[in-house]
Symmetry: C2
Subunit: 299 residues, 2 copies
């Protein structure tokens, strides 16, 4: 849970609320409650933001508020393609010495989403759970492959589902073909691998099985920040609601995640996620059904 | 119908048989016969190649054989991503003064596929048909946008379905968003637009409707040459077989085209297209069904 300042070809934002855990919670709380949040913020993080999430069933017992430090801050600028971006500024602040503590009331956790963060911290959370969750899903990024590969490998070995984007899958596996990359990464531990391809959709691999979910072709992408986290929130939210961790359920969860991500990019930051209701989500999921639905009976 | 010499990260080929019309004919002849071919070759083009296609129901009356000229020759080198390539050599030869003539026996043509070639020549063929075909499909490329935009616009205005890749759609429309690009291009004439995204699949636009067909994730892409032409051949082949030009039929045709293209890239040149039979094609189409099939009923 953090602050972002975002520059896109459409304009420039002030410091706005962001962070992987923020997007995940906004997204997942459409499908499952309560959500047991673990994060850290500084004295500058607005209480109203925490309350807005509390009102959606997000339990803040695991969110540490550091009264003498500022929240994490990231600033970036997107290129015209809206897929690539440059980091302009990163201020770790509270993240520099974050030591996540899992409250006793979180010990019943059945479904764990490890949002993108230092692998060491992801592992600390997982290791504090006395009973292993039914499903552990992990998101990560190339930065940890560059700077903390050993730690990263340790977490990857312990999770059920790993989410990375296509270039990260290639980097992690040293394979160019995504099919080969998937085999190599699943041999590192995760039984399921989700490769996110942004505007080109997402792939789910499991053993020899593969499922492809498209991204919705959008007239305008206003701000891609948090789209991957929002996808993760929709995915784990659907799994937690259905309590079904089969491959078929994960396929549905990816469609739900993709639908949520398609909302996220329509407005700046979390703005669009704060507006949508169940009817909007249902309608958007139907658009995905229409997008890929075909009857191959030949006539 | 031409010669190619291809260099990929996997190796280098000698001069092999290629050309848009060659790939289209190999692909389409799995679905519909006869095919009325229009093209030009030189004295160096092997008679065995023409006979191999004749044996598949490809009528060669419209293929001119120039005894004093060489066939068109292209040589290119693919980058590691297998999506981008550099042209190493282009020898127009017979194409320099090609004047396509539609034989009288071709006048009953119901479905016309204008393969990628100088727009002027595509127009010449279309204009020679006394009755407009039920469906005219056109493929083209960025080279004609750079060098013959005025001619290109004239053909585009007369066709029903245009096929381009994503960067060409952006160039043609001066819109970055593919949804906006599609609207802009359909306003130029075609009622249907297919945007090919290579390994990222293909989009079909028609009015406000959109359909997405994935590409099959492949362990290895050996040679992408001709994949777009093979896609076009599968598309028009399916349409000609079904004689159904509805949006639903075009969705199926795009899946068929994508399945054919997925074969094409597995071996060098037309090699894989010469091996496959109906059973292999049916099995591959089922892989596409499995790839995108999901049941969104929530439980």
């Amino acid at each position: 849970m953090a602050f972002d300042a975002i520059e896109t070809p459409f304009g420039k934002s002030d410091k706005i609320v962001g962070g992987a855990a923020t997007y995940i919670a906004w997204s997942a709380s459409n499908f499952t409650r309560p959500i047991h949040q673990i994060s850290v913020v500084g004295y500058d993080f607005p209480e109203t933001e925490l309350n807005a999430l509390r009102a959606r069933g997000v339990d803040m017992d695991g969110v540490q508020i550091k009264q003498d430090q500022k929240s994490f801050f990231w600033s970036g600028k997107y290129h015209l393609d809206m897929n690539s971006r440059d980091t302009l500024d990163t201020q770790l602040n509270v993240l520099a010495d974050f030591d996540p503590v899992v409250p006793p009331s979180y010990q019943d956790c059945e479904f764990l989403m490890l949002g993108n963060l230092m692998p060491k911290l992801q592992l600390k959370v997982l290791d504090q759970l006395q009973n292993r969750p039914k499903l552990v899903v992990m998101d990560t990024m190339n930065f940890w492959m560059d700077t903390a590969m050993e730690d990263l490998q340790k977490v990857i070995a312990k999770v059920d589902v790993l989410m990375v984007n296509d270039s990260e899958a290639r980097q992690l596996s040293a394979e160019y073909s995504l099919v080969k990359a998937a085999k190599s990464i699943m041999a590192m531990g995760p039984k399921y691998l989700i490769i996110k391809k942004g505007e080109h959709g997402a792939l789910l691999f499991h053993g020899d099985r593969v499922f492809f979910a498209p991204a919705l072709p959008l007239e305008e992408v206003f701000d891609p920040t948090g789209a991957g986290d929002t996808f993760a929130g929709g995915f784990i939210g659907h799994i937690a609601r259905s309590k079904d961790i089969s491959f078929e359920s994960m396929k549905r969860a990816i469609i739900v995640g993709s639908a949520m991500a398609s909302f996220c990019v329509e407005k700046l930051g979390t703005a669009r996620l704060r507006e949508i209701d169940h009817a909007a989500i249902e309608a958007r999921i139907q658009e995905f059904v229409q997008l890929v639905n075909f009857d191959i009976t030949f006539n």
